[in-house]
């Protein structure tokens, strides 16, 4: 009985933690890729790393400010030997993981010429953006970024001017398909 109560109490907590530290399952793409980059930085590691970021370096100082409200950043990038080794089905398997009420597609781009596909999703909780997911697919590469945590678009836009990234403009959102 005590065990049942413990499980019952921990289940919602686990669900909350899972939601905050949600990582994409990209095994299908990983199996096809010739090169993988997998950077998973949890909230505790972010806090730990913040102590070692150099304030005198403009990029690091900016990142230090940005990671203050984050619970994690998860990046997976795949490179393929041949063009379009990834398929629409691979992308759909990623999109399926974003088919929850919290996630909303903010931006979608698809090139009819080379099939390049880019999508940006935002996760909202209590009308506050609590996560951003980026899917960037080029002919020979797919990059998926999941930034988890309480962030607003202004903080994200602070990336503008750093690493050569222009400012991200807010655009009207569309519901994820």
């Amino acid at each position: 009985m005590t065990r049942l109560c413990t499980v019952a109490c921990l289940a919602p907590l686990a669900a909350i933690l899972w939601a905050q530290q949600f990582k994409f399952n990209l095994d299908r793409l990983a199996a096809k890729a010739s090169n993988n980059v997998d950077v998973s930085v949890s909230g505790s590691t972010l806090k730990f790393a913040a102590r070692f970021l150099d304030n005198s370096d403009p990029d690091e100082a900016k990142v230090k400010k940005l990671i203050g409200g984050l619970d994690g950043i998860y990046v997976k990038s795949f490179e393929f030997k041949t063009e379009h080794a990834w398929t629409e089905a691979d992308l759909e398997s990623i999109r399926t993981q974003l088919h929850t009420p919290e996630w909303e597609r903010m931006l979608g781009y698809k090139s009819s010429e080379d099939g390049e596909t880019d999508e940006i999703y935002v996760r909202t909780e209590n009308k506050k953006i609590s996560g951003v997911a980026i899917i960037a697919c080029e002919a020979k590469s797919v990059t998926v970024v999941n930034i988890a945590g309480v962030i607003d678009l202004d903080s994200l836009a602070e990336l503008g001017g750093h690493f050569g990234v222009p400012k991200l403009e807010k655009t009207p959102g569309h519901k994820a398909p």
């Binding site: 730990f48 960037a136 690493f163 990234v165």
Partner: protein, 96 residues
């Protein structure tokens, strides 16, 4: 007072040491050299040195972990930034 003179004379009379006197002195010195107190000091010094080395090693390892974490964070933001940059460029071209 003859008895007193006699007693004093006997007490102060020169006596030769026993044959094993020198050996006993040497043994006494040897025991003093290897007193347990010296052993304890040696162990304390060794323990202190060990703790110092372990502490320095721990600090060094933590510094290394921090550096690895810093590089991971920067790499993650660089990739995220590059992806955003690319998407932004594509969207701008479409809007033109």
């Amino acid at each position: 007072m003859d008895w007193l003179d006699r007693e004093l004379g006997q007490a102060l009379n020169r006596k030769n040491p026993s044959p094993d006197f020198a050996e006993r002195v040497r043994w006494s010195l040897h025991v003093q050299k290897h007193q347990p107190a010296h052993g304890l000091q040696w162990w304390l010094a060794t323990a202190a040195a060990f703790v110092s080395v372990a502490g320095a090693g721990g600090i060094g390892y933590r510094q290394h972990q921090g550096e690895v974490a810093r590089q991971q964070v920067m790499q993650a933001f660089r990739i995220a930034g590059a992806s955003l940059n690319h998407i932004q460029t594509q969207v701008r071209e479409v809007r033109r």
